[in-house]
Amino acid sequence: MNKEERDLVEKARGGESEAFGALYDKHFDSIYRFIFLKTGSKADAEDLSHQVFLSAWQKIESYKFQGFPFSSWLYKIALNAVIDHWRTRKPNVSIELVKDDFLSELPDFHDKVDQKFELKLVKNAIAKLEPDQQNVIIMKFVDELTNKEIADVLGKSEGAVRVIQHRALRQLKKLIGEEKKS
């Protein structure tokens, strides 16, 4: 955590709402994206990301700096929110709806249909990965967290994260190939 972020966190812990607002602006998109890629639903991503930041703001005084970025704490809350979401609700979003939601999230590439199609393939392949592999792939290659940060979020060792990453890429390659064929 850099000094600037640390100052914001301390101010937020002191009750300064605008300091937390700055943290919100900095981290909301990555948390939203993470949840969206996990759930495949825009409505669920909005609902859950709102809950994550509301929970973080309400419990900001309990946050303790432990050598990791503030985002690590937010990812942990997000991960638990998604797990609770799957526990309490059946995933009733059909593949078609997932595809439509996903495509609507992308900027309007008028002349880059192929790119949209490619991203759709990748998204569908990610949805078929095991949860830990999904988490590592999204945090590592989409949100660009370090292995150390990912290990902290998932409660695993860095070595374990590297192994999961290797297996996830291999599986993703296989799934994308199958998607292309179909």
């Binding site: 919100y24 509301l54 005084e61 998204k123 989409v142 890429l169 390659k173």
Partner: protein, 154 residues
């Protein structure tokens, strides 16, 4: 054949995914309108620990009191001990009384023998009379004494 590098590039492109700006704005305003929860003056885990420690100390104190009775107190309230004490006391009283009576009887018997023995001239008749007066003639504890007294008196 898709390479790892191609996959990584595709994954990186997913960063363009974002939320609706209006939703983000409204969500932010709503969240910041709430007040964060204030921490308790004393940390709950500490309170829990302190409370558990106090209960443990009290439990140990109670168990120590119950399982390690003091001799004075227990002996005072132990009914069996009290019963033994009383019985011992009664026996002691009885034995002492018997000893006393035995001694007294011997003394009286000696005195009466002296009185009966007319061959010996008693020098203090008034004393003998006083002694005779102090004897309870109705006490039938010792029949031998009764017989002697009858001899003396009658």
């Amino acid at each position: 054949m898709t390479t790892n590098e191609e996959i990584r590039k595709s994954l990186n492109k997913l960063r363009i995914i974002g939320s609706d700006p209006e939703f983000k704005r409204n969500s932010r305003a709503l969240i910041l309108s709430y007040q964060p929860e204030k921490a308790a003056p004393f940390r709950l885990p500490f309170l829990r620990f302190a409370g558990a420690f106090v209960i443990l100390i009290l439990t140990i104190a109670v168990l120590t009191f119950e399982l390690t009775p003091t001799p004075v107190l227990s002996s005072s309230f132990n009914p069996d001990y009290l019963q033994n004490e009383i019985e011992t006391l009664t026996v002691s009283v009885q034995i002492e009384e018997v000893e006393y009576r035995k001694e007294a009887n011997q003394t009286i018997a000696s005195a009466l023998n002296e009185v009966e023995n007319t061959s010996v001239k008693h020098l203090n008749d008034s004393r003998l009379r006083d002694e005779a007066a102090s004897i309870n003639l109705n006490d039938s504890t010792n029949p031998e004494i009764d017989a002697l007294l009858e001899t003396v008196i009658f």
